[in-house]
């Protein structure tokens, strides 16, 4: 039986739901499917059918003419800022999640509320707030400023994913470690970290994706030296929607798929781990 609920739901409903869902899925996927081939079209117009295929819009991003250099710089900037912000957010967020997990309830609730506020506050408010304040510290137009702001946006995600992993973590394992004479640092490294690692990595991926995709804060904080890919795309889209933008968009989609599949794999792995005894975590 393909659809187990079929027997209990009237057929018409079921078919209606399937038809509507098919439309919704088409709606969700179509824009992405449509623009990817356009980036391989030789024509500068966004029209179908595509008559000649070419990599010219990708080629416009390599080489050493000024426009290409700007794109290359944007890629490097996105990586520098994204990775640094992720590292910072991951360390801080993981520690905080462990801290909250070990705290009494009222404290935990209060800290959690504070910790996730960067997700809830509208991004424009965050952007002009940081701009106003960082400008006074001389952080506008610097890598540091963008990294700090992006790390603040990413930390809540790490915090949430690690906290979720810890919810199923058995505290007696720590006690066992301590009784066997391991130092707290060793207990953390050998026992705790391997078990919460999927949560940490998922959080890190979320944090990286947040920074990689972020444009509003970059609009305010980044100088031309720090222009990231989304920031370049933003001026390109507003100014002159060229196929190079679509090529850049396709590269971003490719990376999204890679991040998504990594996350999916991690999720399956942690589900597997949860079903088997924790000792197997150390087995290759």
């Amino acid at each position: 039986m393909i659809m187990p609920a079929l027997s209990v739901t009237p057929r018409a409903w079921r078919i209606g739901a399937i038809a509507l869902s098919a439309l919704v899925f088409a709606f969700l996927i179509a824009p992405i499917l449509v623009i990817v081939p356009l980036s391989f079209s030789a024509d500068p117009f966004f029209s179908y059918p595509i008559e000649h295929w070419s990599l010219r819009w990708y080629a416009a991003m390599v080489g050493d003419d000024p426009q290409a250099l700007l794109w290359q710089r944007a890629v490097v900037n996105s990586l520098i800022i994204g990775l640094s912000a992720t590292l910072l957010a991951t360390c801080l967020g993981t520690l905080a999640a462990i801290g909250v997990w070990r705290s009494p309830r009222p404290l935990a609730n209060a800290v959690t509320a504070l910790m996730i506020s960067p997700i809830v506050v509208p991004i424009v408010v965050t952007a002009i707030g940081t701009y106003y304040f960082y400008a006074r510290l001389g952080l506008v137009g610097t890598y540091t400023g963008l990294i700090l702001a992006h790390a603040a946006l990413g930390a809540p995600f790490v915090f949430l994913t690690v906290a979720a992993t810890l919810a199923s973590f058995d505290e007696t394992l720590l006690k066992a470690g301590a009784i066997l004479g391991a130092s707290p640092a060793r207990v953390f490294r050998v026992i705790m970290l391997p078990l919460i690692l999927p949560g940490v990595v998922s959080g890190a991926i979320f944090a990286f994706a947040t920074s990689w995709d972020e444009v509003v804060i970059a609009l305010f904080l980044a100088g031309p030296e720090q222009h990231t890919i989304p920031r370049r795309m933003w001026s390109g889209v507003r100014d002159n929607l060229s196929p190079t933008i679509i090529a850049a968009a396709t590269l971003l989609i490719a990376l999204s798929i890679a991040l998504m599949l990594t996350l999916d794999w991690l999720r399956r792995r942690s589900e597997r781990l949860r079903l088997s005894p924790p000792v197997s975590a150390d087995r290759p």
Binding site: A59, E225, N240
Partner: protein
């Protein structure tokens, strides 16, 4: 794109160059902030690249939309995101009054203000170009007897179809009054009265349902090219580039054009003043200025520069005799005083 590659080699080169491109740490670089699109392109070819070649100083480019708020924050906090800005006269005047621009030391530039057209070399900015706001129509859509005046632009019956207008009260109020029969000499006298502003908005009301609004200057020719509008206001240089380089069949209507200047300005307190002056001096050389007209049809403001401009380009500049039969110069003082309050009213009017 210098060498066109295709297929696998391109893909490999792409990935390699992405891997190898480290952040470039350069000793000398100057950041020039301008308006994007084909205008920035013309500056890149006429100024930035030759400047880098001649001096070894890297030119970084950025864009702005005249957001003076960022300049204020930059100057207040001394965190400069640009060394030289390309400013319209409204930004020049309001920034100069508010102490946001450096006072230009002409002795450092190697020329004197009287080598420029009147009003072009000022206390806070060195004039670069004169530009025109006018309207153009798609000659493929309107074949014979095209529109000739702002009254025609407003005439929806005679010329049906969408119109493109800038999302800003500036220029639109002037054009509306011209369409309403006000002579160009009386424009600002009438706009300075409340009745005049009401009259301009009432005139705009007539075509409001037909209007597609654009923001960045590059959008106007794009709207025409995509056939989203049959006629649009725009900057003459960008429209001209669309006609000559993209081979579009657009016609520009110079009758009733509005002219303004752009200036090079330096934010107040910039530590790297010498580099900024070096760039402005370079970009103000007559040959350089004339060179820019080869890429975009804006008029150079240094008197000597006109001698170097190719004769074929001269008739397309805002200052050409044929183009100045009926024109007006933007009243900078009026807009410095009233832009904010009119913008507020304009935004509300738009959202109704």
């Amino acid at each position: 794109m210098r060498r066109a590659r295709s297929g696998l080699p391109a893909a490999i080169t792409l990935s390699l160059s992405l891997l190898s491109a480290a952040p470039v740490a350069v000793a000398d670089q100057v950041t020039v902030v301008s308006w994007g699109g084909s205008y920035s392109e013309s500056q890149r070819r006429a100024f930035y690249e030759p400047f880098s070649k001649a001096t070894g100083i890297t030119v970084l480019e950025d864009e702005w939309q005249g957001d003076m708020g960022k300049i204020r924050t930059m100057v207040d906090t001394r965190s400069y995101q640009g060394d030289v800005f390309d400013a319209e006269s409204a930004h020049l005047v309001s920034g100069c009054d508010a102490g946001l621009w450096e006072h230009i030391d002409y002795s450092k530039l190697g020329f004197t203000p009287d080598e420029f057209l009147p009003g072009a070399a000022t206390e806070c900015g060195v004039g670069s170009i004169s530009w025109s706001t006018l309207f153009a129509y798609d000659a493929d859509a309107i074949k014979a007897d095209g529109p000739q005046s702002w009254a025609d632009f407003w005439d929806i019956k005679k010329f049906p179809g969408k119109r493109g207008l800038a999302k800003d009260p500036r220029w639109n109020l002037e054009f509306a009054l011209l369409a309403d029969g006000v002579p160009s000499a009386d424009l600002y006298r009438i706009l300075r009265t409340d009745d005049g502003v009401d009259r301009a908005f009432a005139k705009l009301d007539q075509i409001k349902p037909q209007v597609v609004w654009w923001e960045a200057g590059a959008e106007a020719p794009k709207l025409l090219a995509n056939k989203e509008v049959v006629m649009t206001t725009g900057y003459n240089g960008r429209l001209y580039t669309a006609i000559t380089e993209d081979k579009k069949n657009f016609k520009m209507v110079w009758n009733g054009q509005g002219v303004d200047f752009d200036y090079w300005v330096i934010p107040k307190g910039l530590p790297n003043l010498d580099l900024a002056y070096k760039f402005i001096a370079f970009a103000s050389e007559p040959e350089r200025m004339a060179q820019q007209t080869a890429y975009i049809a804006y008029g150079p403001l240094r008197k000597d520069a006109l001698a170097y401009v190719a004769p074929s380009i001269l008739p397309n500049l805002p200052t050409a005799p044929d183009n100045t039969r009926n024109w007006f110069k933007s009243d900078t003082q009026f807009w410095a005083d009233n832009h904010e309050s009119l913008m507020e009213r304009f935004n509300l009017w738009l959202s109704q």
